[in-house]
């Protein structure tokens, strides 16, 4: 009897935990894997900009721990952002996927450990996923003949190691640059730059390891720099 009650209690706790963290809906990658398929309901919200991948550094991360300083990067993030047609510089939707296996620190074995089961567990959670909720408090910060720059607080759902949390990233910068002779030399389409810096506390995402706090920092600094174009990668 006691055993049955214990099992029922455990099952109830497990069910409530599962309910507290529902599975997120994620956009699917295109067959060539170069971008994500934009859901129709998001496409209708405004102009779609696609991340330009495999070029510049998109994600930079740094762990400053007492015994070791680790710097890493990836330029394999794919995805899109949707720009509001009537609210200048405002993102109304967006999603990016960063393959965990694409994160490079300059030391191969460390990269393998980073993607391993003890850390980000790429076999179970292959991508770090960012889903845009909104960009609030948008203000124009700079304007020239070539571009208009905005800043605001980016609100996103960050899924890391299978755990999703909503985070707010103040001072996120968005710059819009319509196509011109100068831009066409570098990339086709109207361009967008997105810059954000934030901190990820590993424990918040269920990443725990005995060396956290000694060789790996509890809080990892993330620096995001995405360049996007209105033309999808296959038309670049």
């Amino acid at each position: 009897m006691l055993k049955q009650i214990t099992m029922m209690t455990v099952a109830a706790i497990a069910a409530s935990l599962a309910a507290a963290q529902p599975a997120i809906q994620v956009a699917q990658a295109t067959p060539d894997g170069k971008t994500l398929i934009v859901p129709e309901d998001q496409k209708s919200k405004g102009a779609v900009y696609y991340a330009i991948t495999d070029k510049d550094r998109q994600i930079y991360f740094e762990s400053n721990a007492p015994l070791e300083n680790i710097k890493g990067q990836s330029n394999d993030a794919i995805g899109y952002a949707v720009l509001s047609p009537d609210r200048p510089g405002t993102l109304v939707a967006g999603e990016w996927h960063l393959p965990v296996s694409s994160m490079k620190t300059g030391i191969e074995l460390r990269d393998e450990h980073l993607a391993g089961k003890d850390w980000l567990d790429a076999s179970s959670h292959p991508d770090i996923i960012v889903q845009v909720r909104e960009l609030k408090g948008v203000t124009e910060t700079k304007r020239s003949a070539a571009f208009t720059a905005y800043a605001g607080t980016l609100v996103v759902d960050l899924t890391l190691h299978g755990v999703t949390r909503t985070i707010e990233i103040p001072k996120s910068a968005i710059t819009l640059m319509p196509a011109s002779d100068a831009t066409r030399k570098v990339a086709k389409g109207d361009l967008m730059s997105l810059r954000s810096k934030f901190t990820v506390t590993l424990a918040d995402y269920g990443v725990s390891h005995p060396v956290i706090g000694e060789k790996v920092a509890k809080d990892v600094e993330i620096d995001v720099s995405l360049f996007l174009s209105t033309l999808p990668p296959e038309r670049q």
Binding site: I52, D54, K55, D56, R57, Q58, I59, Y60, E62, E68, K71, G72, Q73, S74, N75, D76, S102, K104, T105, G106, I107, E108, L109, R110, T141, K142, S144, F147, A149, A173, T175, M177, A182, T183, K185, V186, A187, L191, S193, R195, K197, D223, V224, S225, F227
Partner: protein, 120 residues
């Protein structure tokens, strides 16, 4: 031990220790041995995108660079070539020097002991 062998071991070990230290200092004094990474180099190459947006924000248009270099570190960073480091090169060399010195001292003591015995 043959004096020639002893000299060779001492000289070889000293060269290994000094050489690994020179390589360590000359390649940037990294804590771990590392090698160039093509993906990091691809990201470090100028695509022109960050230059386009350089004037748009106060912060730099792109994040800091991650170094992609060949370097002999203080410690190894993995198996194979990544195991080459100051510690893995100098460690055995120091053990060899200590072994030769210990052997020589033991031999000289044994020699002086036997000569003392002969004189008495």
């Amino acid at each position: 031990m043959n004096p020639k062998v002893r000299s060779t071991v001492l000289l070889g070990s000293a060269i290994l220790i000094v050489g690994s230290l020179i390589a360590f200092f000359a390649t940037g004094m990294y804590p771990y041995t590392r090698f160039r990474d093509t993906e990091i180099e691809q990201a470090n190459a100028e695509s022109g995108l960050s230059d386009l947006f350089a004037d748009s924000t106060e912060s730099p248009a792109e994040p800091p660079k991650v170094e992609s270099v060949n370097a002999i570190g203080l410690l190894p960073s993995g198996p194979g070539l990544a195991s080459v480091s100051v510690v893995t090169l100098s460690g055995p060399a120091l053990v060899a020097i200590a072994g030769v010195l210990w052997w020589s001292r033991r031999k000289s003591r044994a020699g002086s002991g036997s000569s003392e015995a002969a004189t008495t």
